[in-house]
Amino acid sequence: MDQIILQILNGLDKGSAYALIALGLTLIFGTLGVVNFAHGALFMLGAFCAVTLNRILSLSHTVIDETKKDFLGNPLKVEVPYVQGWFGESTGQAIIDWSVPLAILFTIPVMIAIGVIMERGLIKHFYKRPHADQILVTFGLAIVLQEIVKYYFGANQIPMNAPQAFFGSFDFGAMIGMEPGAIIYPYWRIIYFCFAAVLVGGVLAFLQFTTFGMVVRAGMADRETVGLLGINIDRRFTIMFGIAAAVAGLAGVMYTPINPPNYHMGMDFLVISFVVVVVGGMGSLPGAILAGLLLGILESFASMRQIIELLPGINQVVIYLAAIVILLTRPRGLMGRKGVMED
């Protein structure tokens, strides 16, 4: 039982990352009709916003420590961050320690700007072009963004830490009345799940309850009619692209303490997030979220030892197998609308 709850937690956690990326992809597809292969790259850029902020906060001057030696036997140069000089050692340390949450504030404007520039500068010229062209140009863009990041940050993973306060894990099982030690779960993963839930809720509420959101939803359903009504849907779509980029970026920022980021992390998520979007049903926001969580949970259960022993290799293929079964039984995914991307 505790194993099952544990894997459901894991699945929700994993699934929330899938859902966040798929949500952004669906927003872009639903509003703009564009298949964006660069969406994974936006996720990656978000993560590197956190890395950049951390680097900025840790900008240092060097102090020579005569008591220690470096690898060549010379006196060791110790890096002392400026923030420690300005705010005192403990406050400075705390600021660096909290760089990941702080990066949220930094990432939102940066990612919205990147999204808007991307849409105005490139994507908008591809609205009327075939999906194949959109795939190629956004794939090219993804490679370019990825290589630029690699050029500055290297190919290796870069460790990012959650604030010390959230480091480690807590006894989730004891909290819900099970015996102590049955379910130990890391703080940060719970925070990630809650963060994802808030973000998803926020985006959905924004679309549901604001006039802006209503126009965008109407545009998703029938772009031409809304355009005929004299509403400047294009400008709203640009903003939507910015929001989708910010959602992907924030997903990336918060993901950094879970897995150290590298330039390739977007590509790793790209295929799976497309599977999630399609399984959820092209253009359906609730579908993307549902599919993300569902596939996350399935993946977690398939990785259980007892199940791998029964079906070797199931953990390698479960997501794809599920996608095939769902698409064959539900032609347009879980919650897809008719006629979207069927030709």
Partner: protein
Amino acid sequence: MSKLDLTRRGVIKSGAVAGAGLALPTIFTASSAAAYVNEPTGSTVTLGFNVPQTGPYADEGADELRAYMLAVEHLNGEGDGGMLNTFSSKALKGNGILGKKVEYVTGDTQTKPDAARASARSMIEKDGAVMITGGSSSGVAVAVQALCQEAGIIFMAGLTHSNDTTGKDKKANGFRHFFNSYMSGAALAPILADRYGKDRKAYHLTADYNWGYTTEEAVRTSTEAMGWETVAAVKTPLAQTDFSSYVAPVLNSGADVLVLNHYGGNMVNSLTSAVQFGLRAAQANGKNFEIVVPLYSRLMAKGAGKNVAGIFGSTNWHWSLENVAGARYAGTNAFVKSFGEKYGFPPSQAAHTTYCQTLLYADACERAGTFNPCGVGQALEGFEFDGLGNGPTLYRAEDHQCFKDVLVVKGNENPTSDFDLLEIVDVTPAAAVTYDASIFGGELGSCNPGA
């Protein structure tokens, strides 16, 4: 980079070709007059450095490439000579190899067997490379080694740790300096038993591919021989990025040690997850829970950051070896000095092994008096040497595997810099990790000069 480093290959080579240009068309290279493939006829010899330049191992590849360029410098008599000064064989004189200036071409393996072979073939067919070296995974090493065997070229493996490279997939034209899974297991087991006790229950997470299998087997066999029990071994997909669902059940499985048979990004991510789930701080069966990483590299340690603190593993070499373990490992400091002065940071074990491989190849050519793969192979087989940073080492004739001491390291609790993430715990002597050459099967075949 200053202009003095340049090898003016274009100029020199065109001179050489102008002379050969008038020769009659050679019909079917396979039966041509040359004694072996790509026999260097001019005043230079070309080596092929085939390393990952794109993909997740690009940084490791970049470090290998730095070491290769340093080795070329030293072979050509430039720079401070590095380990040439400490190498026990004195055949190399700093005037290139057999009097020919050393030049090189580079390629990108992409850490894919196909791409690596394409790159190696282009070096052989287009650039006339007489030796191929490099790589950062066993899949690539095994694939390129087989290609070199077919083409009649010597292959000096780079970073490859699977038993298969010099076991079931060994080839007469291929040589490995790096250690392997078996040695990792054999070196780690006694030290783990010593530190953590003989009554331990291990849980293995194993990357689901060839290297993972051999490593799991090696560590299992040698730890079980010490009295450990293996509770479970779970295979994880190579493409996995989030290991939470594999790590989460470990704590309640009855195990008190987690062995991560992972490398590269897999290892960084699984270790990060394991620490997140509190395994480092946990108690199981009344003991402290422990994590073991059979194969460590500095770049991985860097990726995992402070999560590596206190975690045991093995490694082929480390830049602090001579300072910590003494003059037996002479050469280490010489290499660290010349590498560090040129690039500003200490070399990784990948850099070390590729530098050694280049020197060993060059030295074998000198001693054999030829670039002919059969001659070079003979010179390397059974070669005993010292002064390349690993202490006395044997290139065993039966499987072309080097036997030397293996380092057991652990993550530094208080690192002073990015390069100080690992500290040496102990060194297991070569005798303790030597095995019978026949246990992994495979056949060397006979050397192939390609002509």
